[in-house]
């Protein structure tokens, strides 16, 4: 199953991606690879982090749960997973079908931070440049020990397809978890300002309808309810918070300072301003839709086109902010800076997931061999801001004009991503009981060097997937597949404010088992020779 860099971008947004919003391209990749994609992590993490931590969020990449359907599933494959990949393909279904799958994803995300900027001693509090040279820590720049997050998660899903009117109308249903991102780094690691740990997951209930408007052309659409869940922990650098910098700059404190989203490295990552932050139990309820076209213009050629509209993800949960430092709790209380040791309240994270356009083409070279390709373009540039809202009476600092409710718009600098994948599928035995599938793919990164960080480990992504299916009898088949994906080691030296410079490595593997059952009357083909390869 290919891993898509656009997914990675989504992760960088820091919210669990809505499967429908990720588009068929993404879904295909997911179906072929039950991995947690880096982009999902970013999706989940980015927005949340961005909440108080603007600039650094703008990183695409993350961890998708790619295993939607099987490795045979694709925008040009007629199976129940077409609910996810291309609803129009349901129109070619000739029997009822149930597809169930379970599996695991495992891998690791590694990051070796390389600080290239100048930093003052972490136990200082010089807040504006020029920083006295005596306050600059000469030992801060350089490479830091590599941090690593193991990735392990189960995965499961199920689809069903029901031809309602022979060769005319078909219904599909699906319940699955397209995205999950369990990450856990060393809490004291050099990456802690980006992320310490996160768990992001998105489940989806989809209903699809397909109308066959011609014996070779089918239209489809799906609607989905998307439920997301997110937790994360990180160290919030108040030196990078506009709200904090503005409060210091205003009366009565009146200190022009360099704190804020565009803070130079010299005023970042100071011990006193490094406050642990947690987003707890944030849920997102959303809806999306897709429209699709499937065509079989000539017998061996299958075409699929899917447009996914994307949506907004709105996570609502609670947050905790550890302000237990005397600087925040008592030393400047007379000036109005007096937080409780632990600030708790409601948190909302909102961002736009991008539109996606995917085109797939499959060609049956012979009765037993098919090749297909997917080209996708993900409009990550649609993602303009992450809107993060914190609401707590404990946040309010009236004397400093810090309100109880704060919304921060976090700008992203993502770019559109291109996905290219090629697959070959074949029947390998004479009894046509064993089929195999192989996929190679490439996804371009969505996050530029300026904004990448460990919460969205994006890069030039290569992937490969293998699958095998065994037809136990005409109605029941079992499938097993696995995928390996990774980003080419990416060394970043142009990260804004030195937030994400260093070397990124990502390697993921998935393994899934599926049970496929077909039942009910077998459709009579309108044109018997014309039938897509079934997974």
């Amino acid at each position: 199953m290919p891993v898509r860099s656009d997914d990675a971008s989504l992760l960088a947004l820091s919210g669990p991606p809505n499967p429908s919003e990720l588009g068929s391209d993404r879904r295909r990749a997911a179906s072929r690879s039950p991995f947690f994609r880096p982009r999902l992590a970013a999706l989940a993490l980015g927005p949340v982090l961005a909440l108080l931590w603007p600039g650094a969020q703008a990183h695409a990449s993350g961890l998708d749960v790619p295993h939607i359907g099987t490795t045979f599933s694709s925008p040009t494959t007629q199976d129940a997973a077409a609910v996810y990949w291309n609803p129009a393909m349901l129109g070619f279904a000739d029997s009822n079908e149930v597809l169930l799958g379970v599996g695991i994803a495992a891998g690791s995300l590694r990051y070796q931070r390389d600080r290239l900027g100048a930093y003052q001693y972490a136990d200082g509090l010089d807040f504006a440049e020029p920083i006295d040279p005596a306050s600059i820590d000469p030992n801060k720049p350089g490479a830091y020990p590599e941090v690593r997050s193991p990735i392990f998660s189960p995965n499961a899903g199920g689809f069903a397809a029901f031809p309602l009117i022979q060769d005319r109308l078909a219904l599909g249903l699906g319940v699955y978890v397209p995205y999950a991102a369990p990450l856990s780094f060393d809490e004291e690691g050099a990456q802690r300002f980006a992320l310490q740990s996160a768990f992001i997951a998105v489940s989806r209930i989809s209903a699809a309808l397909s109308v066959k408007v011609h014996e070779r052309v089918s239209l489809g659409a799906s609607v989905s309810y998307v439920l997301g869940f997110a937790q994360l922990r990180r160290i919030q650098d108040f030196g990078a918070v506009d709200l904090f910098g503005d409060a210091l700059a205003r009366p009565p404190i009146n200190q022009p300072n360099d704190f804020g989203e565009d803070a130079p490295s010299t005023v970042r990552e100071l011990d006193v301003l490094a406050r642990p932050f947690a987003l707890n139990d944030a849920f997102s309820h959303g809806a999306s839709f897709s429209v699709a076209l499937a065509a079989n213009p000539i017998d061996p050629l299958w075409l699929g086109l899917t447009y996914d509209h994307g949506s907004r993800a709105n996570f609502r949960g609670t947050f905790q902010l550890d302000m237990n430092d005397e600087f925040f709790t008592q030393d400047l209380a007379s000036q109005g800076l007096s937080f409780p040791p632990l600030v708790e309240g409601d948190a909302a994270l909102s961002f736009r997931l991008p539109k996606r356009l995917m085109f797939g083409a499959a060609y049956d070279i012979s009765k037993t061999l098919r090749v297909d390709t997917n080209l996708a373009y993900v409009f990550w540039q649609d993602v303009d801001t992450f809107d993060i809202t914190l609401d707590s009476e404990q946040l309010a600092q009236p004397a400093l004009e810090i309100p109880r409710r704060t919304t921060v718009g976090l700008r992203r600098d993502w770019v559109g991503a291109i996905h290219v994948e090629a697959s070959a599928r074949a029947v390998v035995d004479k009894k046509e009981k064993v089929r195999v599938s192989g996929t190679l793919g490439y996804h371009s990164p969505a996050s530029p060097d300026a904004t990448i960080d460990v919460a969205s480990p994006d890069g030039q992504r290569l992937l490969g997937a293998l699958g095998v299916a065994y037809q136990i009898n005409p109605r029941v088949a079992v499938l097993a597949d696995g995928e390996l994906q990774g980003i080419l080691p990416r060394t970043v030296t142009a990260s804004d404010y030195d937030l994400g410079n260093g070397r990124y490595n990502l390697l993921l593997g998935t393994f899934m088992l599926h049970l496929q059952a077909r039942f009910g009357s077998k459709a009579k083909p309108a044109k018997p020779p014309v039938r897509p390869i079934e997974s």
């Binding site: 310490q196 009565p252 007379s334 040791p341």
Partner: protein, 589 residues
């Protein structure tokens, strides 16, 4: 806090939660928990506890604090009273008060006590309206009649004034009252101020004829004015005071705001309370006070909301007479005042004030003689005054008896005493008290502000308590604290980590006084548990010469005694970071 979790989503949540649970340790995070620092028990003898201290600095410039009336009133009164703003020149107020009394409408004057009415009469007395009956000048009436002129004219000639001019001009009246009655009151002579070499008792002289005004006076509308300027003991006996009642002396409006800019490290020093080796904060303002206020910045202090023309809405001025009739002088000797016992009276008594004001009013009379002739061109009498203000009348040709010679003040003293008792008042019953309303202070707000700014700029130490209260961040009962010079400003002598032993100034003061007594028998750091070998000193470090201090390095061992007499050993261990130190504290006694 609300969470969006509809019940129908439970199955999906279960689905979502499954991976989280199964992938325990990778991603599923526990909620944050902040460990509360619980009070520790007193450190037992022989036990060691470690404490880390940091030298975090938050160097601010132009750090503004605006205080309105409510905020100011919330400060300890001792702090407010400790901020001297200015010495308010009282002459304008007194002059306004006397002028108001003098010009009081007759119907209102009639409501005054008899003595006050008589005082008013004295203020208005002129040669033309003077009633000489019963005085030694009564003979002048006859002499004047003999030469055919009004006695007023003769009196006017002597005093070099017109017949309708007042004997005592308002300026002299004012000056005499201010200098005699007010200037003799201890509250107008000395005020509390910081202790320094020139003022070891903390008493600072007040500008002549002025009222020292503190921030406490301003924000509390001088509510203790009558008390402060009431009866009090002096070297001359009990001064009866000069204000028995005062209301509504307000120089500020409700929107009064005082804004002060400061340049300082706004954070407190971090120290330790040895009792339980707990962390504490020590306000750092006092140690920076000399440089805290950017007095070269014209905007370093702003005062807004002052009443444009301050006034007192109600004021009762009192002036007591001597219980005895004080005879005027009868001899020119001893010079220059003569022999009247009035000069030995306390300066605040009515009689003394009268002669003082007369002396002032007649000081510029040129020596001269005026001769008066009868219609026959025969000289009848002469009136002469010399440069000592000695007045002599002489008669000729048996015209009559001349008034006895005397100084001008003796003349007026007799006159005043007699007239003060008009209306049947006996000696000792004519203490003067008159209540006036809406008396202007006589000094515009702008002048007050300018003087406040000038005075505070000259002595910012006066604002120390206020500045400390502005930051008000002392916490706990530190015995010592950690100090480290700001980066880039470190001389070789100041480099490194220092421990400062607290001084009395480090103990915050509130309405009840110091938060704790300064009860250290052996302030400082020692090399031995017997506290015989002090290793700390008062040497100037960071401009500080008041704290016992010692530079420390890892491996150093110090001994220190707290304010309960307990002795502790301090082992300096490896530094956690550049601006932090770690200390192992062991109680040894």
């Amino acid at each position: 806090m609300s969470r969006t979790r509809p019940p129908w989503s439970l199955p999906l949540l279960t689905t979502l939660a499954a991976p989280c649970l199964m992938s325990a340790g990778s991603g599923c995070a526990d909620e944050l928990v902040v460990q509360e620092e619980l009070p520790q028990a007193e450190l037992p003898v022989g036990e060691t506890r470690r404490i880390e201290l940091r030298a975090l600095r938050f160097e601010v410039e132009g750090f503004e604090k605006t205080l309105g009336l409510d905020e100011l009133r919330a400060l300890p009164q001792t702090t407010l009273d400790g901020v001297w703003l200015l010495d308010l020149e009282l002459s304008p107020l007194v002059q306004n008060a006397l002028t108001q009394l003098e010009t009081l409408p007759a119907d209102e004057a009639a409501q005054l006590p008899q003595a006050a009415q008589n005082m008013r009469t004295l203020l208005k007395i002129t040669p033309d309206n003077v009633d000489l009956e019963g005085t030694s000048l009564e003979d002048l009436i006859g002499l004047s009649q003999a030469v055919g002129i009004p006695h007023a004219e003769a009196l006017g000639e002597v005093f070099e004034i017109g017949v309708s001019d007042k004997f005592i001009d308002i300026e002299s009246n004012t000056q005499a009252v201010v200098e005699g009655l007010i200037g003799s009151h201890p509250a107008t002579q000395l005020r509390d101020g910081p202790v320094d070499e020139a003022h070891p008792d903390g008493k600072w002289p007040v500008a002549p004829n002025s009222l020292p005004i503190t921030l406490g006076d301003v924000v509390n509308n001088f509510d203790d004015l009558a008390e402060r300027f009431g009866p009090t003991e002096t070297e001359f006996g009990v001064h009866p005071g000069f204000i028995s009642e005062a209301e509504g002396l307000s120089v500020v409006e409700d929107e009064f705001e005082m804004t002060v800019k400061v340049n300082l490290n706004a954070l407190p020093y971090k120290g330790a309370d040895l009792t339980d080796v707990s962390g504490c904060s020590v306000n750092s303002t006092a140690s920076q006070i000399d440089t805290v206020f950017p007095v070269d910045d014209p905007e370093w202090m702003r005062v807004e909301g002052l009443v444009p023309d301050p006034s007192i809405s109600l004021m009762t001025v009192v002036m007591n007479e001597n219980d005895l009739y004080i005879p005027s002088g009868t001899n020119k000797e001893p010079l220059p005042l003569g022999n009247s016992p009035v000069w030995s009276l306390p300066p605040w008594e009515f009689e003394r004030v009268v002669v003082e004001m007369t002396r002032l009013a007649t000081a510029d009379i040129t020596p001269h003689c005026t001769e008066y002739e009868l219609a026959t061109m025969v000289e009848a009498f002469s009136a002469c005054i010399d440069d000592t203000q000695w007045v002599e009348f002489e008669t000729f040709n048996d015209v009559g008896n001349p008034p006895p010679p005397s100084y001008t003040w003796d003349v007026v003293l007799e006159l005043a005493q007699v007239r003060l008792h008009d209306g049947g008042l006996a000696e000792g019953e004519a203490d003067i008290a008159f209540t006036l309303t809406d008396v202007p202070l006589g000094i515009p707000a702008e002048a007050i502000v300018e003087e406040i700014r000038t005075n505070l700029a000259a002595n910012p130490a006066a604002l120390e308590d206020l500045a400390e209260n502005l930051t008000d961040n002392t916490e706990g009962f530190a015995d010592f604290y950690y100090w480290r010079a700001p980066a880039g400003q470190v001389s070789a002598e100041e480099a490194g980590d220092w421990l400062f032993f607290v001084t009395e100034d480090d103990i915050p003061v509130d309405d009840d006084g110091p938060a704790r007594p300064y009860a250290y028998d052996n302030p400082g750091f020692f090399a031995d548990a017997e506290l015989g070998d002090k290793v700390s000193s008062l040497d100037a470090i960071g401009g500080d010469t008041s704290h016992e201090k010692v530079r420390v390095d890892a491996g150093d061992v110090l001994y220190i005694q707290d304010d309960a007499g307990r002795v502790y050993r301090i082992d300096v261990v490896d530094k956690p970071s550049l601006k932090r130190i770690a200390l192992d504290v062991t109680r040894v006694q």
